[in-house]
């Protein structure tokens, strides 16, 4: 341990010792003074401190807001249309809860000060008052109904079906990165199957080949000798729709002013597509695809101006604990104009091209060579095809 460490520890210990000695001494003094007098003095001091705390606290609330408000998302407009609803809801809730907060805290500490012990006064015997209680049951209930009403109105708007013309992008989370897939020219996603995933060459498990899955049956039938031998081979046909799919990890490109629907998957554990500037968030759950849609309202370039930050990027933050690399699971959303998007998309090569090239298959060949891939599957597991 360093000397500074010892030094700090020594200071701490000394601090404790001094505090303790003062506390001891004050106890002796209070005995000398008489308990009643000591009690009255303590009571006055603490009642006074209650008001001091209230006043300093209120100043602190104001000051904290002054320092930190501009660091939040509140001063900037939402980058999605639906996010604007969330901002409105935020302000409604802030107004109502803020009023209650100030009223109750002020009453609490003011009462603490005002009704501190005094020999001259007697406590007022006031065990209940039905009228009062009905009032403060109904008023919060009404206020909350207002909040529920607004909240659900927006909630159903946000979680409702995506517009028919929305561009669909598939987002897949895995430890610790995001993979984005766009359908190719055919505007259809090719099928994929998680048992065909092969990191590096086929990250999503696309059905690019006819594949034979061999089920591993446990040796020695337990009493079912009478049955005919089960066919333990399943042939999965390649899906040509997947040959033109664009799969990449660099950024999620979306178009300003056009609705986009994300179909969200996970390969290993639960992740979460967190989109702070769009005010949105949705879990990525292995085995259960989820969806999220929004319409971006500002391009990345426009947002750079709005925030005054030349390096601004829309970030995707993983918002569900997903393992030790959770805090590094960063994605980028590029909001671009229609023209820029078309240009970007034209530059993208279908993922199958690289795959086929590496295996010496002509990419044009619609029926790729029959490679047999034996994948272990449990005897019980039925083979299931994932459509998206």
């Amino acid at each position: 341990m360093t000397t500074t460490g010892f030094f700090l520890l020594a200071i701490l210990a000394l601090g404790f010792l001094i505090t303790f000695q003062i506390a001891k001494a004050s106890e002796y003094v209070s005995i000398l003074k008489g308990e009643k007098k000591a009690f009255e003095q303590n009571n006055r001091i603490n009642a006074f401190l209650m008001v001091v705390f209230l006043v300093l606290g209120l100043i602190g609330v104001w000051w904290c807001n002054k320092l930190l408000y501009k660091k939040t998302l509140l001063p900037y407009p939402s980058a999605s249309e639906l996010g604007t609803n969330i901002d409105t809801m935020m302000w409604i809730t802030l107004a109502i809860t803020g009023a209650v907060f100030f009223a109750t805290q002020i009453l609490l500490f003011w009462f603490a000060y005002k009704y501190q012990h005094s020999d001259k006064r007697k406590a007022f015997y006031y065990p209940h008052n039905n009228k009062l209680e009905i009032i403060w049951t109904t008023i919060p209930a009404i206020a909350l109904c207002v909040l529920v009403g607004f909240g659900l109105f927006y909630w159903f708007k946000i979680t409702g079906e995506a517009p028919k013309d929305a561009m669909v992008v598939e987002v897949t989370g895995k430890q610790f990165q995001w993979i984005y897939r766009y359908p190719g020219k055919d505007n259809t996603f090719g099928k994929k199957y998680f048992r065909l995933i092969s990191p590096g060459s086929n990250d999503l498990g696309m059905l690019w080949n006819d594949t034979v899955l061999v089920k591993e049956t446990k040796g020695g039938g337990h009493g079912d000798h009478g049955h005919a031998p089960v066919d333990n081979k399943t042939v999965i046909k390649a899906d040509p729709a997947g040959y033109d799919d664009i799969i990449q990890s660099s950024a999620l490109y979306v178009v300003k002013g056009e609705p986009v629907k994300l179909v969200i998957n996970a390969q290993d554990v639960i992740h979460d597509v967190g989109l702070p500037h769009f005010r949105l968030k949705m879990d990525a759950v292995p085995g259960t695809p989820t969806t999220l849609w929004f319409t971006p309202t500002y391009t990345t370039e426009e947002m750079k101006k709005i925030t005054g930050n030349p390096n601004f990027e829309y970030e995707i933050a993983c918002d569900q604990m997903c393992g030790n690399g959770h805090y590094t699971m960063r994605g980028v959303v590029k909001v671009v104009t229609r023209d820029e998007f078309i240009l970007w998309r034209a530059q993208q090569k279908p993922a199958y091209a690289a795959y086929a090239e590496a295996r010496g298959i002509a990419p044009a060949n619609a029926a790729p060579a029959d490679t047999t891939q034996a994948t272990a599957a449990s005897a019980a597991a039925p083979v299931k095809l994932a459509n998206n």
């Binding site: 106890e27 809730t93 209650v100 909630w155 292995p286 933050a317 449990s378």
Partner: protein
């Protein structure tokens, strides 16, 4: 106020300042039966309290360590390596240990401190004393309850010493992260130990809870109808009911998880490709676990806060010298909270892909729970109104509790509204919300309880000056730590990140994180002052000289200053009135044992 001498044998069963086994009294108690395998509810309460304190220190220390990382992400602390070894190679906490600390901080504080330590202590201590019973319905099961708790503690503690470390996937234990050893080193043996530790904890909680319920329902003294019991007892009753109904669901969820881990089942697992291979599991639902977990998890937060509410209500009435305002409304609102606690769990799951209509039902029910909470706050305020308040340390903490409960409760209205939850879910806003409303405020309830009943526990007082310092630093510190975190949440800063420096959206809070960490360390140090005060006062505190030092109405103050096993040396007193006759008919207080007078006014 009566004197020691009036009572039969207060000194015979002197318990605590004498730690030598030769002092046996006439109960033929040995050191083992008296201090270790004790069946006296008061001793079991102290066992829970002190074990809870040990856990609180460990859990708090964990938060200090990971706050160091959060506040000073670019600095190294060589002394960390000196004390933690491979956990902090080069003076920086490694990522797996950072996540272990975060996870264990949550587990330990939620379950072992604020559940075991809080309701374990006060249910054991107060229920028999306040309803007029000699002990629990089953002192033996009560003892087992503590020892299962202790066993669970040991197992959780042991997980720190396995090679792959304790579980590190967050205290909510979501699979597949918790189910697959390949997903994280902490999900190897650490996760099994976590499950075993929690299973023992659940057993402890059930043994305790069933005991509390049967004691309250069956063993009240003559005249102690349910409408006359103090609010502490009501609160502890609802707490026990919540625990008994919800903990088994957690246990079953964990057993299914254990099957997924080791028996090849697929309750929670489906379509998983991890560590270079596809797993055979198909057809499970990862979200199912979240439903089972939060079916306990949400009642759990009320298991934590209800006892604190009960303690605070009682302490407020005693020190305002006024009846608690709206006794029946207080009971009714706790009842409403207990019912609603079971109907709101999915508000933790708004962004899991839950059906939006189902989500809307949970929004409605969640915001409904704010109504009974509001009633309680208004009733506490009215109790203080026109009172004659004595600021004992307990009363200070009770006021602090109400303040924190308001602050943290109001942010619950943001999070319970699914629309806002989309943005705020799993950000620092959530951390701020639940640390204030169920972390710090439950601690405030617990501190209030400890300061208030310490004289009954040990026959001595704690030092007031230290207590006031403890209160003010903790209150101010709690707000300084958690209030600014709301702003981080409003910047959508995610929880459970070890380092924010690579994120352009979240790296603007560097100075603030440093500030929060510094305050957290100071607040932690002041809690050590409280512990010192506690243990010092057990042996050297000022002696209690009167039987009823606070002028309180409830039955625990009719026992001798240091009650022995059985609580009352003679007959158990009979009760004639409710627990809140303070300031009635110009009398400071009327004990529950006093028959209704001929000319007494009605309330």
């Amino acid at each position: 106020m009566s004197q020691d001498s009036i009572h039969g044998h207060p000194e015979v069963v002197t318990t605590h300042e004498v730690h030598h086994d030769e002092h046996h009294g006439h109960h033929k108690e040995t050191f083992i039966t008296k201090y270790v395998f004790s069946q006296d509810h008061k001793m079991i309460a102290k066992q829970f309290l002190i074990t809870g304190m040990v856990w609180a220190v460990l859990g708090g220390l964990m938060s200090v360590l990971f706050r160091l990382q959060l506040g000073y992400p670019n600095e190294t602390f060589p002394w960390l390596e000196d004390i933690l070894g491979r956990w902090a190679k080069g003076g920086r906490i490694s990522v797996e240990n950072y996540y272990s600390l975060v996870t264990m901080h949550g587990t330990v504080l939620v379950f072992f401190v604020l559940t075991g330590g809080l309701s374990g202590t006060f249910a054991n201590f107060l229920i028999p004393l306040q309803i007029g019973a000699r002990d629990m319905a089953s002192p033996f099961l009560n003892m087992l309850s503590y020892w299962f708790f202790f066993g669970g503690s040991i197992v959780i503690l042991a997980s720190f010493f396995v090679q792959t470390g304790p579980f590190s996937g967050g205290w909510t234990f979501y699979p597949p992260l918790s189910a697959l050893g390949d997903a994280s080193p902490g999900s190897k043996i650490g996760a099994d130990l976590w499950i075993i530790g929690m299973a023992l904890f659940v057993v402890s909680s059930l043994l305790g809870g069933l005991n509390y319920i049967s004691t309250i329902l069956n063993m009240r003294t003559k005249g102690m109808s349910m409408s006359r019991v103090p609010l502490t007892v009501w609160a502890l009753l609802f707490t026990a009911v919540l625990g008994v109904l919800s903990f088994p669901v957690l246990l079953s969820g964990l057993i299914l998880l254990l099957f997924d881990r080791h028996a090849g089942t697929s309750f929670y697992l489906s379509d998983i490709f991890i560590a270079g291979k596809a797993l055979p599991n198909e057809g499970g639902s990862a979200i199912l676990f979240q439903h089972l977990f939060w079916f306990l998890g949400h009642p759990e937060v009320y298991i934590i806060i209800l006892p604190a509410m009960g303690l605070v209500s009682e302490i407020m009435a005693v020190n305002c010298r006024k009846p608690i305002f709206g006794y029946m409304a207080m009971v009714g609102s706790m009842f409403a909270i207990a019912i609603l606690a079971f109907l709101v769990w999915a508000h933790h799951m708004f962004v899991t892909g839950l059906n939006p209509f189902l989500g809307s039902v949970f929004v409605l029910l969640t915001l409904l729970i704010a109504v009974p909470s509001a009633i309680k706050v208004f009733n506490w305020l009215t109790t203080m109104w026109r009172g004659n308040i004595r600021f004992t340390p307990a009363m200070m903490f009770a006021v602090g509790f109400v303040s924190l409960f308001i602050s943290g409760g109001l942010t619950g209205i943001f999070l319970g509204n699914s629309t806002l939850d989309i943005q705020l879910h799993d950000t620092y806003f959530v951390i701020a919300h639940f640390h204030i409303v169920m972390g710090v405020s439950a601690f405030f309830g617990m501190f209030a309880g400890v300061y208030h009943w310490f004289p009954k526990m040990y026959g001595r007082y704690m030092n007031n000056t230290l207590a006031y310092i403890h209160f003010w630093v903790t209150l101010v510190g709690a707000y300084l730590i958690f209030w600014p975190m709301h702003y981080e949440g409003l910047a959508a800063m995610p929880r459970r990140y070890m380092d924010y420096s690579a994120w352009s959206s979240f790296n603007q809070f560097e100075g603030l994180n440093q500030f929060i960490s510094t305050v957290a360390i100071i607040v932690f140090a002041v809690q050590l002052l409280f512990l010192f005060n506690f243990f010092y006062s057990i042996f050297k505190g000022r002696r209690v000289t009167s039987q009823n030092p606070y002028g309180a109405t409830t039955l625990e103050w009719t026992t001798p200053i240091r009650p022995g096993h059985g609580n009352w040396p003679g007959e158990i007193p009979e009760v004639h009135r409710w627990a809140y006759d303070y300031g009635k008919d110009d009398r400071s207080f009327i004990p529950q044992t006093e028959p209704i007078g001929a000319h007494e006014s009605k309330h």
